[in-house]
C-alpha cells in the first residue's frame, strides 16, 4: 500500500473519527449526511487544504473554529448565481403568487439559503409581484460564515446569462435595476437586503421557529441521508401552515417522507407541493 492512497478501510476509519470529533466539539452531526456526497466533498476539501489525510484535517478543525467554518463552507452548495433555476421562478410566479395575492400577510422561509443567491432572487420576484410589502422573508442556514456573506447583499456581478435566466424566470423589469455595480461586484438594493431576516438555523438539530405560508428548501436536503431527510421533512411540515406551499428541488420527492399524504403536488410545476391537511 503506497502512502499516497490510503486503503478504503483506513480512510473510512479516519472519516468516522473526524465526523465523531466534529459532532462532539462543534455540534454539527455530519454522520447523518449522505455518505457518498460527504466523502467527495471531504476529499475535495482535503485537496484544497493541501492535507494528506483526514486525521490531519481532524486535528485542524477540532482546534480551530475558522477551519471548521471552512469545512462547512465546502459542504454547502449554494447556487452560484441569481435565478440559477429559472423554471422554478417561472412556476412560482404562475402557481404560487396568485394564491399569495389573496392572503393578507405572508411569511416565507428560505431554508438552507447559503450565500443568499436564491433568497435575493426570491425577494426580487416578490417585489415585482407587488407582494414585498406584506411578505416577511426569513432565510436560514447552519453556517454563520455563509450567512455573513449573504447579509452583505454583495454578489459577483451578474452576467448576460444571469440576465437571460432572469427573463426566463418571468422577470418583469431589468435585472440591473436591482443592484449597483461596484467593479466586479453587485450591491443589491438596500430595500431588498434590509427586508430579509437572515438567521442561523440548523435543520438537522433545531426545531420549528415559526409558522410559514411558503417554505423554499431546494436541493438542501440532498446532502442528508434518508433518516435525517425524513426527520427534517417532519420539521418542515410542522412549520408550514395548512394550504401553505413547500418548494423542493427539481429531483426531490416527498415519497416515503412521513407526511407525504398531507401534500398535493401542483401539477406541471417543478416540485411545488401544497399542504392540504
Amino acid at each position: 500500500m503506497s502512502t499516497g492512497t490510503p486503503s478504503a478501510e483506513l480512510e473510512s476509519i479516519e472519516v468516522d473519527l473526524l465526523l465523531e470529533g466534529v459532532a462532539r466539539q462543534w455540534g454539527f452531526d455530519l454522520r447523518s449526511h449522505a455518505r457518498p456526497l460527504l466523502l467527495r466533498r471531504l476529499r475535495r476539501h482535503l485537496r484544497e487544504e493541501r492535507l494528506e489525510t483526514f486525521s490531519e484535517l481532524q486535528a485542524r478543525v477540532l482546534h480551530d473554529g475558522e477551519a471548521m467554518d471552512g469545512l462547512l463552507r465546502t459542504l454547502s452548495c449554494t447556487p452560484p448565481s441569481l435565478f440559477s433555476d429559472p423554471d422554478f421562478f417561472r412556476d412560482f410566479r404562475a402557481r404560487v403568487v396568485p394564491v399569495l395575492r389573496t392572503w393578507p400577510s405572508v411569511r416565507v422561509w428560505h431554508a438552507g439559503c447559503g450565500t443568499g443567491e436564491d433568497t435575493y432572487a426570491l425577494a426580487i420576484l416578490l417585489q415585482e409581484e407587488g407582494l414585498w410589502g406584506k411578505c416577511r422573508l426569513y432565510a436560514s442556514d447552519s453556517s454563520e460564515g455563509l450567512l455573513a456573506d449573504a447579509r452583505t447583499g454583495v454578489l459577483p456581478l451578474p452576467g448576460e446569462d444571469d440576465a437571460r435566466r432572469y427573463v426566463e424566470g418571468g422577470g418583469k423589469g431589468t435585472l440591473t435595476d436591482y443592484y449597483m455595480r461596484d467593479g466586479n461586484w453587485a450591491l443589491l438594493q438596500p430595500k431588498l437586503r434590509d427586508g430579509i431576516f437572515f438567521t442561523q438555523h440548523n435543520l438537522a438539530t433545531d426545531g420549528s421557529f415559526n409558522e410559514f405560508h411558503v417554505i423554499v428548501c431546494r436541493d438542501t436536503l440532498l446532502t442528508f441521508n434518508r433518516t435525517l431527510h425524513n426527520r427534517v421533512h417532519g420539521r418542515l411540515f410542522e412549520s408550514l401552515a395548512r394550504f401553505g406551499f413547500l418548494c423542493l428541488g427539481r429531483k426531490e420527492s416527498l415519497a416515503r417522507t412521513p407526511h407525504a399524504a398531507a401534500y398535493e403536488e401542483l401539477e406541471g410545476s417543478g416540485r411545488i407541493f401544497r399542504r392540504v391537511e
Binding site: S2, A8, R41, E252
Partner: protein, 185 residues
C-alpha cells in the same frame, strides 16, 4: 444471481449513439441495477430515446430513490448522480471537468459503496472518467473501457480491459452469468 451488485456506465456526449447501442445489448436477466451517466446539457431529453430499444426500463431517478435490479438509472441534467448502498444520491456540487453530471462522481461513489461488487464501463474520449474508473478498479471492481483514447490506460492496478462495441456484449454476458461457485459474499 451474479456476483455483480451494480453496473455503472459513464460516457461523454460524443458516445451517446454508442450508449444507445450498449443499452440494446444489456441482457434481460442482468440481476443488477445499471447506473448511467452521460454528459448532457440542461435541455437534452435523453431517457426516452435511450430507452426506445433497451429491454430494460430507463428512468431518471429522484434523489434517494432505491436502485432496483433490471432497471437503468440515467443521471438527470444538472445533477451529479452518486450511488449509496442501494439508493441514488443526487448532488449539486459544482460541475467537474465542466460537466454535471460528471462520470468521476459516479465511479468514485460506486468504488466507495460497492467496491468489488461493482462493474464499471467507461466510454473513452473525455478527461472526465478515467480517475474514477481507476479508483473503482483499485477497490476491486471489474472495469473496462470501450473505444480508443490514445492513452494506454491502466495504472498501478494493471491494465484496463479494452473493448469495442463488438466485444462489449460478450463482456456484459460474462457479468450476468458468473458461475455460482465464484459468488463472494
Amino acid at each position: 444471481m451474479s456476483s455483480i451488485g451494480m453496473l455503472v456506465v459513464g460516457a461523454p456526449r460524443a458516445a451517446a449513439a454508442d450508449v444507445e447501442t450498449l443499452l440494446t445489448l444489456l441482457p434481460r436477466e442482468l440481476s443488477a441495477p445499471v447506473v448511467l451517466v452521460l454528459h448532457r446539457g440542461p435541455h437534452d431529453a435523453l431517457a426516452a430515446p435511450l430507452g426506445r430499444r433497451c429491454a430494460l426500463p430507463v428512468v431518471e431517478p429522484d434523489d434517494k430513490d432505491d436502485l432496483t435490479p433490471g432497471r437503468v438509472y440515467l443521471a438527470p441534467a444538472g445533477y451529479h448522480l452518486l450511488v449509496d448502498k442501494g439508493s441514488v444520491a443526487l448532488s449539486v456540487e459544482p460541475p467537474e471537468h465542466g460537466q454535471r453530471p460528471c462520470l468521476d462522481a459516479l465511479f468514485e461513489s460506486a468504488a466507495d459503496s460497492y467496491g468489488p461488487r461493482a462493474a464499471g464501463l467507461l466510454f473513452a474520449g473525455h478527461e472526465d472518467g478515467p480517475a474514477g474508473l481507476a479508483l473503482l478498479q483499485a477497490r476491486g471492481g471489474r472495469v473496462a473501457v470501450v473505444g480508443e483514447d490514445g492513452e494506454g490506460g491502466g495504472g498501478q492496478d494493471g491494465p484496463v480491459e479494452r473493448l469495442s462495441l463488438d466485444t462489449v456484449g460478450a463482456w456484459l454476458a460474462r457479468l450476468a452469468y458468473v458461475p455460482r461457485a465464484k459468488v463472494q459474499s
